[in-house]
């Protein structure tokens, strides 16, 4: 403790005269209640106080450490809380729900109840036009305005089904997870409504003719 004191005061005393003034300027302003706790450290004029660690801070530190133990215990030393466990649990529920909803869906099928051509038209532009063309003339996917069908027979139920499950291996994705039943029905209505419009640059017919 004391060897550096002599050292520092030594250094201070020996400073150049011009520096001396500066050093005084830059030395710390010590408040009245701090006089007793100023340490004899001096680094380029910086002093340090010997204040104790704030109590709340120390408690916070302990609390986080205790929490760390509890947290680890919760996940690793009590059963069923690992990420994998909760995931498996959520998926079991999923399968049950799924079987409910898929039977429910199957019974829904095509239905005009909540469907509308307008909704179908706007869905078509945003989701389908990329592959089937703005006017359904066919690009990657086939022309949807003719009466030739590669899949199914062109009835409402058949088109509904194609859109729902898709033909993934041929590049038509399944829309089941992206659209709800009434939206798919709207698309069906829209597709039926444009039949025979014979747009320019239409792709030549593919598949079988169904009248």
């Amino acid at each position: 403790m004391n060897d550096n004191q002599s050292n520092n005061s030594n250094a201070n005393a020996k400073k150049d005269i011009e520096q001396n003034k500066k050093a005084k300027d830059s030395s710390s302003i010590i408040l009245e209640d701090e006089k007793d706790i100023v340490l004899d450290h001096n680094y380029d004029g910086i002093k340090e106080l010997d204040n104790p660690l704030p109590k709340w801070w120390v408690n916070m530190f302990y609390l986080t450490a205790i929490f760390a133990v509890v947290y680890t215990g919760y996940y690793h030393f009590s059963s069923g809380h690992l990420i994998e466990d909760s995931f498996q649990k959520s998926m079991i529920v999923e399968i049950k729900e799924d079987s409910d909803s898929s039977t429910a869906m199957a019974s829904v099928g095509f239905s005009e109840e909540h469907a509308s051509i307008d909704e179908g038209a706007s869905l078509y532009t945003s989701r389908c036009a990329a592959c089937h063309g703005q006017k359904a003339e066919g690009i990657i996917g086939p022309n949807l305005t003719d009466s030739y069908w590669l899949n199914g027979d062109g009835t409402n139920d058949s088109i509904y089904n194609v859109i729902k499950v898709g033909i993934p291996e041929k590049g038509m994705i399944s829309w089941e997870k992206l659209l709800n039943p009434s939206q798919i029905s709207s698309l069906v209505l829209y597709i039926q409504s444009i039949k025979g419009t014979a747009p320019a640059n239409g792709k030549s017919p593919q598949g079988t003719l169904f009248e």
């Binding site: 403790m1 004391n2 060897d3 550096n4 002599s6 050292n7 030594n10 250094a11 020996k14 400073k15 150049d16 011009e18 520096q19 830059s26 030395s27 710390s28 302003i29 010590i30 408040l31 450290h41 680094y43 380029d44 004029g45 910086i46 002093k47 340090e48 106080l49 010997d50 204040n51 104790p52 660690l53 801070w57 916070m60 530190f61 986080t64 450490a65 929490f67 947290y71 680890t72 996940y75 690793h76 990420i83 994998e84 995931f87 959520s90 998926m91 529920v93 999923e94 729900e97 799924d98 909803s101 945003s126 990329a130 990657i140 993934p168 590049g171 994705i173 997870k177 992206l178 659209l179």
Partner: protein, 724 residues
């Protein structure tokens, strides 16, 4: 101390500080800071409106984002740290830097690194690891320059005239040591050519090393050196004693020891073993107190001078910087909770968190340093206090807009991704979750513009200040007695830490031990477990063409927007497909799990769309996904793929342990050409298959189509192992 033989007081040395090196670093800071912020604003505009990608490959988001992060961290913050370290250390140690030549090499070497980064990153030359994108020749240069800096620094400590080293110096030492270790380990790679290398590690192992590095780049590049600067500049400016010496000691050691463990909080819900994830979480939570220790020691040092905060812009910057530091280090542990991270990870919330750290804590600390040092070093007065105050307010409003908009955007998007209704996704269309937050991207852009405007005010202010400096300044001479040898005597009542403060070598060794413990415990087990997986897996390595496509994916920085990690969360599995497994990425040198989902996850995109969909989508994303904000990649349809290098690439992969046979490597070229032609034919009758199969786009399609779940985890029909 009186038991020391009282010979004559030693004769004083007369010496001068090397301030010209400090001035150089200051000017570099000011310049690079402008570049970093400008690039940031450009990126913000690209997310708000994709057309700002301008269809130019060099400035697409994926290539520019690494430039922004590197410029902000290593050029802006880096130069500022060096300026502060050179300025304060000389004064705290009462000595000139050991060698002016080494200082100069450090300065010019560092600028060379930055310039190389600024050239190579837009060209797509990248190692593909976040915050460590620079390719191997630059990595080696960084290591060299850093070692030169370290040598110069430790020799300066040797020739010091102040017996004890101050807390700021402890933080500088921790920075110098740890950054060297992190950088070297994380950059280990095998070169394929001058501008291309493959990380030594792969998959989960690479991820762990990368985030051990990444998180501690935050810790030891953006936190410890800045705490050092804080401990010097706050007491200097305010002329008040540091609040608590004991707090300095405790929070220093706690911070250095605990930080290194927290890296895995970047990998929650990934395929990293859960014990490692939990360790990352709990150490993140325990980081709260050590971090706040620094903040309160700084804020309480300002005690009794609050009236001056109202008047002096420098003090305003200090207070706001520390407050935002406190906020970021409260938010960090919060984000590290598994349940919070499930919502926040991959969203803009993280980006908001980062920027309260860098814009607030780091940025404001740097501004305070510049406003203090420039007038001091150029021996004049600041041109305008008023302008500096305006800078403060403009920047503060900028930060608030930035952080608030990213919170809103992150939480909105996080909730939309996870939203389920009757077991189905509420927002199955990813693009819908993007268009929803576009308005917030505009708010962020405004925030960024404000911050940049404030910065420009500062440049003007500082330039005017420097211009008003008196000419022909004489360097000031200082004098102090040389250090005398003292024998350590325990009877003097000196505390052991006080003793440590005059033994910097031992302090350095203790720092190394403190950071080594967490590093070894966390990283070692993963290295072994990975080998185990490698022997069991049925995963086939990429074909030569897929590998070429993957390298283009890395070059274009797709990972800055797309993750490849389907987390074990129901909504995620419904959206993307089967959750990711350890062996999905086992041959990925480097891993590409990503940290942000500006676009959807791609780990399961293979087979989801036909080849022609990808072809059209890369050329013009909006033709396939209306509303998308992804840039166009027309050059992929024009550039020819470099088939010649494929054999070499496979050979390097072989060295890294990927099970390619020699035959695979020899036939790399023909195999790739055959596969490319197949894809070309598959596209569309109107496209010339032969011609198109030479192009880069085909390789990208091949790679994307290869990203799938493993068929089955039980080896099905005998083909357990190929290669050896």
């Amino acid at each position: 101390m009186n038991n020391q033989p009282q010979t004559q007081p030693p004769k004083n040395d007369v010496f001068q500080y090397d301030d010209s090196i400090v001035k150089k670093f200051i000017i570099a800071t000011i310049g690079w800071g402008f570049v970093a912020l400008l690039v940031g604003v450009i990126l913000a505009s690209q997310l708000a409106n994709w057309t700002f990608n301008l269809d130019l490959q060099w400035i697409t988001f994926g290539r520019l984002r690494p430039l922004h992060t590197n410029a902000a961290i290593f050029a802006f913050a880096g130069n500022a740290i060096f300026a502060g370290i050179y300025h304060s250390s000389q004064r705290l140690l009462k000595t000139r830097m050991f060698s002016d030549v080494l200082s100069k090499i450090h300065f010019w070497g560092w600028q060379l690194i930055i310039v190389s980064a600024a050239i190579t990153l837009p060209l797509g030359i990248t190692a593909g690891k976040e915050y460590a994108e620079l390719e191997w020749p630059i990595d080696i240069l960084i290591a060299l320059i850093w070692v030169i800096f370290a040598i110069n620094y430790f020799l300066t400590l040797k020739v010091r005239r102040e017996r004890h080293i101050y807390v700021a110096i402890w933080f500088y030492i921790a920075t110098i040591i740890t950054v060297a270790i992190l950088h070297i380990v994380n950059s280990l790679a095998i070169p394929v050519g001058l501008f291309k290398s493959y990380s030594l590690f792969s998959g989960v192992q690479d991820a762990l090393v990368q985030w051990w590095y990444g998180h501690n780049a935050v810790a030891f590049f953006l936190t410890t050196p800045f705490l050092g600067l804080m401990y010097y500049y706050i007491p200097k400016v305010i002329k008040r004693p540091v609040y608590s010496y004991r707090l300095s000691i405790i929070h220093f050691w706690a911070l250095v020891f605990i930080y290194i463990w927290a890296g895995p909080h970047h990998l929650l819900y990934s395929v990293l073993p859960e014990w490692a994830q939990t360790m990352g979480v709990v150490f993140s939570i325990m980081l709260l107190a050590p971090s706040w220790g620094g903040m309160i020691n700084g804020l309480l040092t300002l005690r009794g001078a609050w009236d001056r905060v109202r008047k002096e812009p420098i003090l305003k910057f200090f207070v706001a910087s520390l407050t935002l530091y406190g906020m970021a280090t409260f938010e960090g542990p919060l984000l590290a909770f598994k349940s919070v991270n499930a919502l926040a990870h991959f969203t803009d919330w993280i980006i908001g968190h980062v920027h309260s750290g860098v814009l607030g804590w780091n940025g404001f600390m740097i501004f305070a340093l510049l406003y203090y040092c420039v007038p001091k070093l150029w021996k004049t007065k600041l041109y305008s206090d008023k302008l500096a105050t305006t800078h403060f307010w403009v920047a503060t409003v900028g930060i608030i807009l930035y952080i608030m908009s990213m919170w809103a955007s992150g939480i909105t998007q996080g909730l939309m991704w996870l939203g389920l209704e009757d077991g189905r996704l509420m927002y199955p269309d990813f693009v819908e979750t993007v268009t929803k937050i576009i308005p917030l991207y505009y708010v962020r852009l405004v925030g960024g513009l404000l911050y940049l405007s404030g910065y420009i005010l500062m440049i003007y202010n500082l330039v005017r200040t420097i211009a008003s400096a008196p000419k022909n300044q004489q360097p000031i001479s200082y004098s102090a007695p040389p250090l005398q040898k003292v024998e350590h005597d325990h009877n003097t009542g000196e505390s052991s830490h006080r003793w440590l403060e005059r033994e910097p070598e031992i302090l350095t060794i203790l720092v190394i031990v403190a950071v080594a413990v967490g590093s070894v415990i966390e990283i070692m087990p993963s290295l072994t477990s990975h080998k185990f997986v490698a022997q069991e897996t049925t995963k086939k390595p990429y074909t030569a063409l897929e590998l070429a496509g993957r390298d283009i994916y890395i070059r274009e920085g797709c990972y800055t927007c797309h993750s490849q990690m389907v987390r074990p969360i129901k909504a995620e599995v419904l959206r993307y497909g089967p959750k990711s497994e350890l062996d999905d990425s086992i041959y990925d040198h480097p891993f590409q799990w990503g940290s942000r989902r500006i676009g959807p996850d791609l780990a399961r995109v293979g087979g989801k769309y036909p080849d022609i969909w990808h072809f059209r989508h890369m050329e013009d994303p909006r033709s396939m996904a209306p509303g998308s904000i992804m840039p166009n990649y027309p050059w992929l349809l024009k550039n020819n793929l470099d088939y010649g290098i494929l054999e070499k690439k496979l050979r390097v992969m072989q060295t890294l342990g990927v099970p390619y046979s020699d035959e695979n490597a020899e036939h790399a070229l023909e195999d790739a050409k055959a596969q490319a032609l197949e894809i070309g034919k598959n596209l569309d009758p109107s496209i010339d298959a032969k011609k198109i199969s030479k192009k880069e786009i085909i390789a990208v399609i091949a790679y994307l189509q290869s990203l799938k779940a493993q068929e089955s985890h039980e080896p099905s029909h005998g083909e357990t192992k190929q290669g050896h």
